[in-house]
């Protein structure tokens, strides 16, 4: 079980991560039944505090909270007082005054979630839903859940699974969280990208690094395509989108070279025709829709573990 906040995969042990996945599995079974709604978090308030645009993460957290009977307040920076210049501190204190029990925060600055958790501005449990280029822990958890569901149903962890993560490693919080979590669970990870899209210090990560997708594509069990984040592509990381797509995109010829049971993943939203071709995204090997579905169960598990029991220090023995 986890307590306090979920800010980084680094905060989780292998056991607590596996615990979240098994809780998610039970919750998924229950919510597939006739009654999707559980009374567990009745009376708790979950605030979605989104300073960056998001579709699936926000509605996934909202669905998860509602299935556990929590009240959900959606807050997006656009159309709020943040666009009038209100600080994170004042926003947090406003949410505190409204009685938030958990704050799900997405922010363009790395470390924003930790900033919120470390201060006394707000007492709520803080869940990092993506902070800048740092981490996106619930995405990594749902990816691990999806890999386990398809390839390692009966195993204790992900030992021996070979995962290829392809694309913009430099800007990707999804890649960072996944590297930390998947290696923690026993998978081996290879990162593939053009040299310009690797971060400084990547040689110290517990991964293999390659610049050549064609050399690696046939050797993996999972290929995870990252989105080319056009909004962060102000510098010339690669000459043209066409060239990137030709060398690092998942097209039908590369899809055909995947091993028989391999699966294709993408955290979404996809740039069809850029990092992944439409036929790859819609192929039988693609589990992208499962990732979205599993996201709800995994986020229910996280909310349950953080909010289901007594808050810090309140527990009776």
């Amino acid at each position: 079980m986890i307590t306090g906040h979920l800010l980084s995969i680094d905060d989780l042990t292998r056991e607590s991560a596996m615990g979240i996945l098994s809780t998610a599995k039970e919750l998924a079974i229950i919510t597939e039944g006739p009654n999707k709604k559980l009374p567990t978090l009745r009376g708790k308030t979950v605030v979605n505090l989104f300073f960056e645009d998001s579709t699936r993460t926000r509605i996934s957290f909202e669905t998860a909270a509602k299935r556990l009977s929590a009240d959900v307040i959606n807050f997006s920076a656009k159309g709020s007082s943040v666009s009038k210049g209100e600080s994170l501190k004042d926003t947090a204190q406003t949410l505190q005054a409204m009685g938030a029990d958990a704050v799900v925060i997405r922010h363009s600055s790395s470390g924003a979630a930790k900033r919120l958790a470390d201060t006394q501005w707000i007492q709520a449990a803080v869940i990092n839903a993506g902070d800048g280029t740092h981490e996106h822990p619930t995405q990594a958890l749902l990816d691990a859940y999806t890999i386990k569901q398809h390839l390692k149903q009966d195993s204790a962890d992900l030992s021996g699974v070979k995962v290829l993560i392809v694309g913009d490693i430099l800007h990707s919080r999804v890649a960072r969280s996944n590297v930390l979590l998947l290696t923690k669970l026993g998978a081996t990870v290879t990162l593939v990208a053009p040299p310009t899209l690797f971060p400084v210090g990547v040689e110290n990560w517990p991964v293999k690094i390659s610049y050549n997708l064609d050399e690696e594509i046939s050797k993996c069990d999972v290929v995870m395509m990252l989105r080319i984040q056009l909004e962060r592509m102000s510098d010339s990381f690669f000459p043209t989108a066409q060239e990137y797509s030709k060398r690092y995109g998942l097209n039908s010829s590369r899809l055909a070279r995947l091993s028989k049971d391999a699966i294709v993943m993408h955290p979404g939203p996809m740039n069809r025709g850029l990092e992944i071709s439409a036929e790859s995204a819609d192929d039988l090997k693609s589990v992208i829709i499962d990732q979205v579905k599993n996201g709800v169960a995994v986020r229910m598990a996280v909310l349950y573990e953080l909010l289901g029991g007594a808050a810090f220090g309140e527990a009776k023995s």
Partner: protein, 173 residues
């Protein structure tokens, strides 16, 4: 520490409860035993095995009630355990909930809520190994291994061989 039930006595109680369940329900045709984890599930398993020996196979399942507890906010969170249903489900069945100790009745209230999520049984009955009193809700057991008057400060600990090496029920002061 006092011993309330020895291994042999636990065995006899389970056998008597099994007979009572069959007698009360006039057979096992419409019956489903639902054990409440962790020890209730093992007790249900034992009752099931015995009924199978003396009468006929009986449907069984496991009912985790964690998500329906009303004391969630008073305690640290607990892991959720698997809930399993027999192939025929519980719709229209006679469901017997099985737990180790009946105390405040709150676990059973949560179990009734959890049952309600899964279907609408014809009846819900309750079998427990120990009834120690101190009910906080209007709930009673249909089948009881042993009634034990206890003080509120004492605790009853059930050991079952499946988990704890031996079969034993003890009263801790």
């Amino acid at each position: 520490m006092a011993i309330l039930l020895s291994g042999t006595e636990i065995d006899r109680a389970i056998k008597r409860i099994s007979h009572e369940i069959i007698e009360h329900n006039q057979g096992v045709n419409n019956l489903v035993l639902m054990g409440i984890p962790t020890r209730g599930a093992f007790l249900a398993e034992r009752i099931c095995t015995f009924i199978n020996e003396i009468e006929a196979p009986v449907a069984k399942g496991v009912l985790d009630i964690t998500l329906h507890r009303d004391d969630l906010r008073l305690r640290p969170p607990k892991p959720i355990l698997p809930t399993t249903l027999p192939a025929g489900g519980i719709e229209g069945k006679d469901v017997v909930l099985v737990d180790d100790v009946l105390f405040s009745g709150r676990t059973i209230r949560a179990a009734l809520d959890a049952i309600g999520e899964l279907g609408r049984p014809r009846t819900v009955q309750l079998a427990v190994l120990i009834d120690r009193g101190h009910r906080q809700l209007p709930i009673r057991a249909d089948y009881v291994g042993k009634n034990v008057p206890t003080s509120i400060s004492e605790s009853v600990k059930v050991h079952l061989a499946e988990l704890d090496e031996e079969d034993l029920v003890e009263l801790l002061k």
